[in-house]
């Protein structure tokens, strides 16, 4: 994926002032920066939730600029939400299966009459779903309604929903947010494992420095909507601009 010179304004505020970077195949790219630096905005431009005013985002040779949101997943772009956006009245399993919606082709009539096509499609989705539930240790709560589950579990449900969609690029917005220290360590291991078994790229938007630095192949750092560093975790960690930006913010909890 290539992001070229993307600009985004909110009224007078310049949230992104011409940012460019690339994410390679099977690469894990961390996107870091202090609060308000434009990480979420970048994330939303890529996933089509915001419309950038200039520049282009190209994925696998297809320009994403101006593309309908519901078509993103067909191209292989999966995502999670920073504040968890699950279907609250539905079970864990059903939430996940919605992620397989775009892989199906059957409509109202085939489903209402349980035509062979519909049952075959459903069985295939459920089979793959069962594997993903096992992988993310969600089997025990598979038939629980999600609204009753703890935050950390719900984040894993979101991950399951994104994974069943067979993404080529997985966008994760602050997956460590709200997790305990132990959970964050497990998450790091999980992200590495998922990249291995699902053969995909990951864009990891994260405030949590140690997590980003430990799993990323490359890191892009933003400040005030500009890119201030781009390289391996070690290069970025030692970049004076990055040190200044993070010291300036004064939160060594994440450093």
């Amino acid at each position: 994926m290539r992001v070229a010179d993307v600009e985004m304004h909110f009224g007078g505020i310049v949230a992104l002032a011409g940012v460019s970077f690339e994410v390679g195949r099977r690469q894990i790219c961390g996107l870091i920066g202090p609060n308000g630096s434009g990480k979420t905005t970048m994330f939303n431009c890529i996933s089509g939730f915001y419309r950038h005013s200039r520049g282009d985002i190209v994925f696998d040779g297809t320009s994403l600029t101006g593309m309908a949101r519901h078509r993103m997943i067909d191209l292989g772009i999966g995502r999670t939400f920073q504040n968890v956006a699950l279907f609250r009245s539905m079970t864990v399993r059903d939430n996940m299966l919605v992620g397989a919606h775009h892989l199906g082709r059957t409509g109202f009539i085939a489903n209402a009459l349980r035509l062979g096509r519909a049952t075959a499609e459903e069985a295939a989705a459920r089979r793959r779903g069962a594997e993903i539930l096992a992988l993310l240790e969600l089997e025990e709560v598979a038939d629980e309604v999600v609204s009753a589950l703890p935050f950390g579990t719900r984040k894993r449900v979101e991950l399951a929903r994104a994974l069943i969609s067979e993404p080529k690029l997985l966008l994760l917005d602050e997956p460590a947010g709200g997790l305990t220290h132990g959970e964050v360590d497990e998450l790091g291991a999980l992200i590495l494992k998922l990249r291995q078994s699902f053969d995909m790229s990951i864009l990891l938007v994260e405030h949590h420095m140690s997590l980003v630095m430990s799993v990323s192949d490359k890191v892009v750092a933003l400040e005030f909507g500009r890119k201030i560093a781009d390289g391996t975790p070690d290069e970025v960690r030692n970049e004076p601009e990055v040190i200044r930006a993070y010291l300036g913010e004064g939160d060594d909890e994440h450093a």
Binding site: F49, H70, S89, M90, L97, V98, H101, N111, R161
Partner: protein
Amino acid sequence: MRIMSSRLVLVLLVLAMAVVPLFVSSGYQLFQFTMVVAYALAVLGVNLVTGYNGQISLGHGAFYAIGAYVTAIMMDHWDLPYWSTLPVAAVICAGVGFLLGLPALRLGGLYLALTTLALAAAVPQLLKYDLFEGWTGGVQGISIIKPDAPFGLPLNADQWLYLFSFAVAVVLFISAWNLVNGRIGRALKAIRDQPLAAEAMGIDLAQLKTRTFAASAMYTGIAGSIAAIAVQFVSPDSFASALSITLFVGMVVGGAASISGAVFGALFIQFIPNIADQVSKAAPGAVYGLILIVFMFVAPGGIASLVRKWWPAGGSRARST
């Protein structure tokens, strides 16, 4: 094992509901039960779009009216058999639902509720309109004749119509159950719960909403057809906007996003007004309102959610019953 026994109980229950009224009920009671079947289908239609998909419709009486008039016109003007009018009403209502759904569902929320309510208010006027009088019979309406049982079956007209309606309803209820528990049903509920995430999962909101509106209009339209045959008469004043509200009440009382809830809702809207009438001739509306409020307190998730607790496989949360 529990699932098996649960299914067996359901099959036996449905068979009993089909057969028992034939032997124990008078002609008028059978007519009432046929109306319950019609209302159940109509409420199920509302439930698909409002309960499952979260699009509030206060105008489904309009589709009920269209279905009823399609049947009446076909039987009266062209002498067509009653059964042939059901698929025609289904297709016409689905088409009208689809066309209305295109602009209406973009409004969403409370504006959709108001727009559909306006539709319900307009329909009786349109039915009285001079230009259509040749078809609709204007304020006079249209009378039709109740069909006799076919193949020399030893059933009277009331018994046959109940059985016929019941069979149609069973097929449509099973279809709805299949629909809401599969790929499309999950997408409907996803849109209702969290539209942004649904879109990110590749669901085309506008397309799915309009198709749901069409399917739901189809169900309610078929209900109107059955009701027209049962009542043997259609007129504009039978389809005032109060009917739409009644169907909405049936959906909520029976249980939103519940297939069986449509049956309970239909029983409620068919029989509770009668009961209210017997309790107080002077203020039946007040009694009805009081009973409605009591139901909302006793069964806040709808009657279906109460019944689910008593059902043999009461724990199967995974399915929408």
